[in-house]
């Protein structure tokens, strides 16, 4: 029996790291997917902060019509129509068909239509088909863009207003 224990004792440290390695290896394999999803979702959904003042159009929500706000809008669902707000964030998986107007527009989902904003950010998961009218644009590699990029420097201060007028 003592020999059994002595045998087991050296074996245990061997088996332990082996066991420990097994869950470690699948964890990183599944992690990148989740991390990528979370990374894509996180800058757009800090839920505790978002829940306070921001309007959230969650995944299960679909809006047909116009959306207007003087504050921020976070879209994770589907919108068919125009969106106008100070900051518009279109999360990954979200779909917007129409014109997105704002001071800042961050896109991780898909927009079919037009973006008019002072600052436009297209993340790697963005899918944009249509024109982008901007003063400041950032496009991460991986983003799909089909359309024209037009810089609009006409007025620097309150810029959403003049763009609105042009759109209508």
């Amino acid at each position: 029996m003592s020999s059994m224990f002595t045998r087991n004792d050296p074996q245990k440290p061997e088996t332990k790291p082996a066991e420990a390695k097994v869950p470690e290896t699948p964890a990183p394999t599944t992690d990148p997917v989740r991390r990528a999803q979370q990374a894509a979702a996180q800058p757009l959904t800090p839920p505790s902060q978002a829940a306070k003042g921001v309007s959230v159009i969650s995944r299960a929500l679909k809006i047909t019509g116009q959306l207007e706000s003087s504050e921020d809008i976070e879209i994770l669902g589907e919108v068919e129509g125009d969106v106008r707000a100070a900051t518009v964030r279109v999360g990954s998986g979200a779909k917007v068909r129409g014109t997105v107007t704002g001071d800042e527009v961050e896109l991780a989902g898909s927009v079919e239509g037009k973006i008019e904003a002072r600052k436009v950010v297209l993340t790697s998961t963005a899918h944009m088909s249509g024109d982008i009218i901007h003063q400041d644009v950032a496009i991460q590699s991986g983003a799909y863009v089909c359309g024209q990029l037009k810089p609009e420097y006409s007025k620097t201060g309150t810029n959403v207003q003049p763009l609105k007028v042009k759109a209508e």
Partner: protein, 131 residues
């Protein structure tokens, strides 16, 4: 297996209640498969399972849901099995309900017709055609 279950959990966590903030104005149809919290202005139609019209909400149009709680300004029609009208509410129009509760202090102008539960089942299938 683990990865799938974890993903499912993540997905369960992700769709929280939607919220239409104070400054938000929606014109058109709002379709929600879950709970919707409205603080802003909506003119049009709201379809959801559970709707809370907050104290500062101004809603005009139809609301179709299983459960509706009204705390704000509403004019139009509500079609819901369970309706709660809070004391801060100001409702104009019709409330089609199966069960309703109205808090003291609420202002209601209109009719509150009772309907059997079957009425609401058919309503969810054909929300557009019903009066």
């Amino acid at each position: 297996m683990f990865a799938q279950s974890r993903r499912a959990e993540v997905q369960d966590q992700e769709p929280p209640a939607s919220r239409l903030g104070r400054t938000l104005k929606v014109t058109g149809t709002v379709d929600m498969d879950g709970e919707l919290y409205v603080q802003g202005t909506v003119s049009g139609r709201i379809n959801a399972i559970r709707v809370i019209l907050g104290t500062e909400s101004h809603v005009e149009g139809d609301v179709v849901a299983q459960e509706v709680r009204v705390e704000g300004h509403f004019s139009g029609r509500i079609f819901a099995l369970h309706v709660t009208v809070e004391s801060s509410a100001n409702v104009t129009g019709r409330i089609f309900h199966n069960t309703v509760s109205v808090a003291q202090g609420a202002r209601i102008d209109g009719r509150m017709p009772w309907r059997p539960p079957s009425y609401f089942e058919t309503l969810t299938q054909l929300p557009e055609t019903r009066p």
